[in-house]
């Protein structure tokens, strides 16, 4: 089977892209894991989060006292634990792709299962954190910091849930033998999306929990 490197540009997403965009497509897809469509989605998602960060920083600029006091009222341990869990899940996904590259389907399934377990652990820690802040009488209407905290953190949680569904889908396809050592672009696309979720959290953790 041809891979993304041997197919004509644009074939991976089933559309004929105009030749004027050839340099852009070459830059996006040359040896990048996954297909062009998932990379457009990744850049769109990262732009969306960049706008959220810009809103957060603008709000902080005009309300420095509220934003300096906010992180001390959050469960920093929960945030740090979730950082470790997400980074580890990214490692599991990279190992899953590497295993499939060697044609080791069972190994790949094992790593995908571990990544799903890490995603479930992330959600559990998040529930524990929200329960704690709720018990402390903190909600999205407490002040502007907590409005943005809940918006950013919950938005990221939704992305984790969507990503976990994609990982589960990749696991099913792996179990069904849809991927091979030569052709596993779908698995690479899911892994790239999952790494994007991890990358966004690397910024969210210090922004919400650490920097005062």
């Amino acid at each position: 089977m041809p891979t993304s490197e041997t197919w004509p540009q644009g074939a991976a997403v089933g559309i004929a892209l105009p030749s004027a965009t050839a340099p852009l497509r070459a830059g996006l897809s040359r040896a990048a894991p996954g297909n062009t469509a998932v990379w457009i989605l990744i850049y769109a998602e990262m732009t969306e989060f960049a706008l959220f960060f810009a809103v957060f920083l603008t709000a902080r600029w005009f309300n420095p006292e509220v934003f300096a006091a906010g992180p001390a009222q959050l469960n920093t341990r929960a945030g740090a634990l979730n950082t470790l869990v997400l980074l580890t899940s990214s490692f599991f996904m990279a190992r899953a792709v590497a295993a499939m590259g060697q044609g080791r389907r069972r190994q790949c399934l094992k790593w995908l299962g571990l990544a799903l377990g890490a995603a479930a652990l992330y959600c559990g820690i998040k529930a524990w954190e929200y329960q704690g802040t709720g018990a402390d009488g903190i909600d999205a209407r407490t002040n502007l910091f907590f409005s943005l905290y809940y918006y950013l953190a919950f938005n990221h949680l939704l992305h984790v849930l969507i990503g976990a569904c994609a990982v589960a889908w990749a696991a099913v396809n792996t179990a069904l033998g849809s991927y091979s050592a030569e052709d596993h672009e779908g698995l690479e696309s899911v892994a790239s999306y999952w790494h994007m979720i991890d990358l966004v959290w690397i910024i969210i953790f210090p922004l919400l929990y650490v920097l005062r």
Binding site: A50, A80, L84, L199, L211, R212
Partner: protein, 90 residues
Amino acid sequence: MTTQPSAIARLRHTWWLLMALTLVSGATAETLAPSAAVVVAICVTVAVKGSQVIDHLMGLRRAGTLARGLMQVYFLVVPGLIGAVVIATG
């Protein structure tokens, strides 16, 4: 992505580095009083962690310059802006 034993070892080293950076930056923020130096250290750590994930876990180290460059620039600009605003409003 290559699947040589050295590639697996590199993934392990990257994971250990990411764990260490997260724990050290978390401990630094918890134990030291907020200052411009601490903010800069945390933002540099964010940029390094992002770069490690992009290059080694995502596997963009050998990708096209645009694909990798956009991600790397993101992890220079965003932590830089965050650090500048936090220091200015601190």
